[in-house]
């Protein structure tokens, strides 16, 4: 079965890049959110198997959005998208319940292996 993914990033550039990396590998992108508030709303509507969540976004930060999602769905699978110099924020996101992180600039192999690892772990639980 195709894993259903919600991509949350305020930059169209990044959303398209993730989509282009994961769709050929069989993932279905069910939604794109452009800020943290939309990410939480779309998660509740779409119930994706996994979310890729940018950390720095308007309205609600990625970390705040992770907390919002996990508050209602404690077993949600969220992978953070971070950039160089955001180690502290990544730690905060992981402590808040994010499952893993990928670092920009994205390396396709790294993105795919991280998503696969998170989904595999979920299916084992």
């Amino acid at each position: 079965m195709k894993a259903r993914v919600l991509i949350a990033d305020d930059a169209s550039f990044m959303r398209q890049m993730i989509r282009e990396i994961i769709e050929p590998e069989g993932y279905e992108v069910v939604g794109e959110a452009t800020d943290g508030m939309e990410a939480v709303e779309q998660y509740e509507q779409l119930h994706p198997d996994l979310v890729t969540m940018d950390i720095v976004m308007p309205k609600r930060s990625g970390i705040d959005a992770v907390k919002g999602i996990l508050e209602k769905t404690p077993d949600a699978q969220v992978v953070m998208c971070s950039a160089l110099g955001q180690e502290t924020l990544v730690m905060e996101a992981l402590q808040a319940g994010a499952k893993d992180f990928i670092v920009k600039p994205f390396k396709p192999d790294n993105v795919l292996s991280t998503l696969a690892k998170v989904l595999e772990k979920k299916s084992e639980d």
């Binding site: 169209s12 550039f13 990044m14 282009e20 308007p58 950039a83 920009k104 600039p105 994205f106």
Partner: protein, 135 residues
Amino acid sequence: MGLDMAKYRRLFLEEAAEHLSEISTALLALEKDRGASEGIDVIFRMAHSIKSMAASLEYGSIADLAHALEDRMEGVRARGCIDDGAELASLFRGLEGLEAMVAVVRETGEAPPPQVELVESMRAESESLKKKALS
């Protein structure tokens, strides 16, 4: 896996132009009100976004300057306002530097040369801000 980098270069030019315009508007707002928190947040986020896009396209010189501006704004965010006219002038220089570099990409399709002095002066200002905050 090969991504269509020409497509991402076009996207970068479109999004960077929008982001730089938003930074400019925010700086003008901060000129009038040095505590305009929305403007501070916008500049931080736009610089962050330009940094990530530039790094994805291996425009290291743009990523470096955007990173320096982002770090500079992190200090401003922590303080909650622009300190003085000199700080504002430094942020305008950062904007102008990024505008010039993005123009090079638009005109040549190549990575622009680094703006070493500007990046170093912004980094030095960020460091000095951090030390001041800790003292």
